[in-house]
């Protein structure tokens, strides 16, 4: 910088002047691009949020009350932290966001236990996994010195399978025909009854099982309390504190068995919600006090919470009318209705979550496997190397194929080909899984490629095999990149609409799918439906509420990606 107008040191040229104009133009056009992009997104979000929450419909009294009790104290406190106590500001930021994120997470957990796995199913699953763990642990202690690698492997894989799946029976009833001409060859019809029932199945078939709430207390709260206890023991290095932490979690959840009816929620809801809320918040508050920095920041959520409570009391007693919300509790818990005010998104939300579970189970292992092979094992020289290069280019191109094409592919492959019914969860999940597979592969490849080669060479130099190198050196270093890329791809997956249209996800589904083979709705599909209904209330109010819900779910997922990335980066 100094050289530009420093005439004394003319090392760059004879005339001693350099034009800064081009640089300035470039800089400001970059700034312009940034501002334009941000403004466009921000204006859109503001527009949608305004439609969903309609703040203008609230009475002045309501707005003033909320401003005085919630907004003003929050702004004052935030300004204080910003100017006086930055560390406390960070604490305030996290301690305010954490309860909100935990509440959303608790909602997700409740949906899982209400719609996807029954509490008893979960209880049996956890019990079976626990039993398998104990068996393997005992086996390792007794036999590890003498058993062959194959035997150890068989036990480690076989015991969990026996515990969770058993050896299921199977039935085939299909006419085998030649692939192209379609001539019938023979009819295959075999059915084998269940050979060995799984431990999970046995537990489920017990005549007496604990109540839903108790089952979850044992199989959901206890393991999470254990995790909290382990964490506390690691940082505080006393068993007593760990026990206190675990005890507090279990007590908070267990209180629900007695207290829930008085509050007006089911005991199961209490157990799940309190567990998901208490564990992360408790751990965070503990860490703040242990570090002893910025404790004042914890006051922020308390002030905002108290303010909100105060606002509620004032509004109720003085009878101010609040804003005419589209996105309210009713919207989140009801299904679509022809009356805009009664319409909700719940079945579509559940459907989207279940589709995403299928996407994750399908796309992540396949995509990661392909990426590892292509980066670490695939030949890179000679004819085979050229072939691999061609495949890689094609995968990158596949990532850019329009999503509606994947819809047609899914229809041809899973509905017309395999013969699954259109419009069910698994077809939706597999189709969208195909759609994001190239993105997962490419992002995982990038992450693996970013691991410095010197690390691999060092590992080989110490005598490690290729497998050991990949497992112990490459994958841990690549994990944050892989997670970030994958979760961002899932974020795209949850918003995809066109493939869902092609594979026959119906416009309106009023019941959440009760299995992965059940008919399902999906949030983007439902939003698309609302955009085409006659009543304007649907196209502005209800649609906006749906968009905000979808955005919040995506925000949660992207937030998870950031948290995971930060966690792993810190470990490096």
């Amino acid at each position: 910088m100094a050289t530009a107008d420093d005439q004394a040191q003319q090392w760059f040229g004879a005339d001693g002047q350099v034009s800064q104009l081009r640089g300035a133009i470039f800089r400001y056009s970059c700034l312009g691009a940034t501002l334009l992009a941000l403004t466009l997104v921000f204006v859109f979000l503001l527009y949608v949020a305004n439609d969903a929450f309609q703040p203008a419909t609230a009475s002045t009294g309501w707005l003033l009350t909320v401003a005085a009790t919630v907004v003003l104290p929050a702004v004052v406190l935030a300004a204080y932290f910003y100017f006086r106590d930055t560390r406390a500001g960070e604490v305030a930021y996290i301690s305010f966001g954490l309860p909100i994120a935990s509440t959303l997470l608790a909602g997700g957990a409740l949906i899982v236990f209400n719609e996807i796995v029954t509490p008893h199913g979960w209880f049996a699953l956890v019990a079976a996994i626990g039993a398998a763990y104990v068996v393997i642990e005992l086996y390792v202690r007794k036999r590890r010195a003498v058993a062959s690698a194959l035997e150890q492997f068989a036990v480690r894989v076989g015991v969990p399978i026996l515990a969770i799946v058993g050896i299921p029976g199977f039935g085939v009833d299909r006419t085998i025909s030649t692939p192209l001409l379609g001539q019938e060859l023979f009819h295959l019809s075999v059915s084998v009854p269940t050979l060995v029932p799984s431990l999970r199945g046995l537990i489920l078939s017990l005549p007496v099982l604990p109540m839903d709430s108790v089952a979850l207390l044992l199989s959901f709260t206890l393991p999470l309390a254990g995790v909290a206890a382990i964490r506390i023991r690691r940082v505080r290095e006393t068993d007593r504190d760990a026990l206190v932490a675990a005890g507090a979690v279990v007590a908070a959840a267990g209180l629900g068995l007695v207290a829930a009816p008085f509050v007006g929620v089911s005991a199961m809801t209490w157990v799940v919600v309190s567990t998901v809320l208490v564990v992360p918040i408790g751990l965070y508050v503990e860490s703040v006090f242990r570090n002893g920095e910025g404790i004042a920041g914890l006051a922020f959520p308390v002030v905002v919470g108290t303010g909100a409570l105060l606002a509620f009391v004032v509004v109720e007693t003085l009878g101010f009318t609040g804003p005419d919300l589209w996105l309210d509790w009713n919207f989140l818990t009801e299904s679509h209705s022809r009356t805009p005010r009664d319409a909700g998104i719940y079945p579509a939300l559940v459907g989207s979550i279940m589709i995403l579970i299928v996407v994750a189970i399908m796309a992540f292992p396949v995509g990661l496997g392909a990426a590892i092979y292509l980066e670490e094992y695939a030949p890179n020289q000679g004819l085979a190397g050229k072939l691999v290069e061609l495949i890689e280019i094609n995968i990158a191109n596949l990532a850019g194929v329009p999503s509606v094409v994947y819809g047609v592919l899914g229809l041809a492959l899973f509905v017309r080909g395999i013969g699954l019914r259109p419009g069910i969860v698994i077809v939706g999940g597999l189709t969208i899984g195909l759609l994001i597979l190239p993105i997962v592969i490419v992002s995982a490849q990038e992450a693996i490629r970013a691991v410095p080669d010197s690390l691999r060479q060092a590992s080989y130099g110490m005598g490690a095999t290729r497998w050991q190198t990949v497992r112990n050196v490459v994958l841990p270093r690549a994990a944050p990149g892989i997670f970030t890329g994958t979760i961002l791809a899932f974020g795209r997956a949850i918003g995809e609409t066109a493939p869902l249209l092609m594979i026959g996800i119906a416009a309106v589904v009023r019941v959440s799918p009760n299995s992965f083979f059940g008919l399902t709705g999906a949030m983007p599909r439902q939003i698309f439906t609302w955009s085409r209904l006659i009543a304007t209330d649907f196209r502005y109010g209800v649609l906006a509420a749906g968009v905000v819900t979808l955005l919040v779910v995506m925000l949660m997922m992207n937030g998870t990606a950031i948290v995971l990335r930060n966690k792993y980066q810190r470990q490096d």
Binding site: V140, P160, I161, G504, R510, F516
Partner: protein, 324 residues
């Protein structure tokens, strides 16, 4: 050194175990959930009735079917009735005839080639007229030169190789090009209009869309735009567009679109709406119950007030019930 190494080994073992068990858990979570059977086809009792009914087809019939589904599911909460709007033709070809959906809505009678496609797949559609619609020809609210049109004039605009300028049809009209919006070619409305008003063909110079809101918005933006859609969309947006009165022949009276005029037979562009349950699906208890419920309610008043269509009369209801 040895201590260190064994510690490392234990570490790997536990992580591998974790990976194996969590992987298995994920796989089993799917398997475990899929065991809860969804395909209970129900047996008898009105409250216990469960199962799935899939409706596809015309976007014009969609509001009726969706209202029926909502009312039906209030009574039978365990029957999952899903409604989709795919266009009459799209529904027959892609969903109903391949046997994927149980009922197809249509705003025109089923075509012969569709019947043969259904037949190949062992699907037998049963025709039931469930409601009537007054197809509405609409222009921009700024359009002050057209109040009434005959079939002949509409055919000149909307028929094959239709007129390009307003003045081509009537010299009193402005010398401006048409901006035409209508339903997609997969739509039954398109087929009905081609068949009954144009006498066969249909211009390909129009913007075809399954979304009637697009037509409405276009009509508001361009004073020379023109489009047609079901009466329900007009009823909801009466102040935003101008409906053209219609006469079949030059000598007839002009009639404005309305449900009354359509049900009394005065409005020429009144058309029947159908649903086609398949005979095979009707063997399932939940589909039969739903179709009975549907037919019995087609004469209800709310079809007119809530959905914006002409309800069926009692004779038609009885005739349909006899078909089941």
């Amino acid at each position: 050194m040895t201590d260190n190494q064994s510690g490392r080994l234990v570490d790997t073992v536990s992580r591998r175990k974790f990976l194996a068990s969590s992987g298995a858990m994920g796989a089993v979570a799917v398997a475990g959930c899929s065991e809860t059977d969804s395909d209970d086809t129900g047996n008898g009792g009105s409250e216990d009735l469960s199962g799935e009914v899939r409706i596809t087809g015309s976007s014009t019939v969609f509001p009726v079917s969706d209202a029926m589904a909502e009312r039906f599911m209030d009574e039978y909460p365990h029957v999952n009735v899903t409604t989709d709007s795919t266009g009459s033709g799209g529904g027959f070809e892609n969903h109903f005839c391949p046997g994927d959906s149980d009922i197809n809505g249509a705003s025109r009678p089923v075509k012969d080639e569709e019947l043969s496609q259904c037949d190949e797949n062992g699907v037998t559609p049963i025709e039931m007229q469930v409601a009537g619609d007054a197809l509405t020809m609409a222009v921009s609210p700024e359009n002050d030169w057209v109040d009434c049109m005959s079939y002949d004039e509409m055919a000149q605009i909307w028929g094959e190789n239709g007129a390009e300028m307003w003045s081509d049809v009537n010299s009193d009209w402005p010398d401006e090009p048409f901006d035409l919006y209508g339903p997609d070619t997969t739509s039954g409305t398109y087929d009905w209009f081609s068949e009954n008003v144009n006498g066969g063909g249909h211009t390909d110079q129009h913007e075809g869309t399954e979304d009637d809101n697009i037509i409405l918005e276009a009509l508001q933006q361009n004073p020379y735009a023109m489009g047609y859609f079901g009466f329900a969309y007009y009823a909801e947006n009466e102040d935003r567009v101008k409906a053209v009165e219609v006469k079949e022949n030059e000598g007839d009276d002009c009639v404005a679109p309305s449900l009354d005029a359509a049900s009394e037979g005065d409005y020429p562009m009144a058309r029947p709406l159908f649903i086609y349950p398949s005979e095979e699906a009707l063997e399932r208890e939940e589909v039969r119950t739903f179709v009975e419920f549907y037919i019995e309610n087609t004469s209800a008043d709310w079809i007119g007030s809530d959905v914006g269509y002409v309800p069926a009369n009692d004779d038609l209801v009885q005739e349909n019930l006899d078909k089941i």
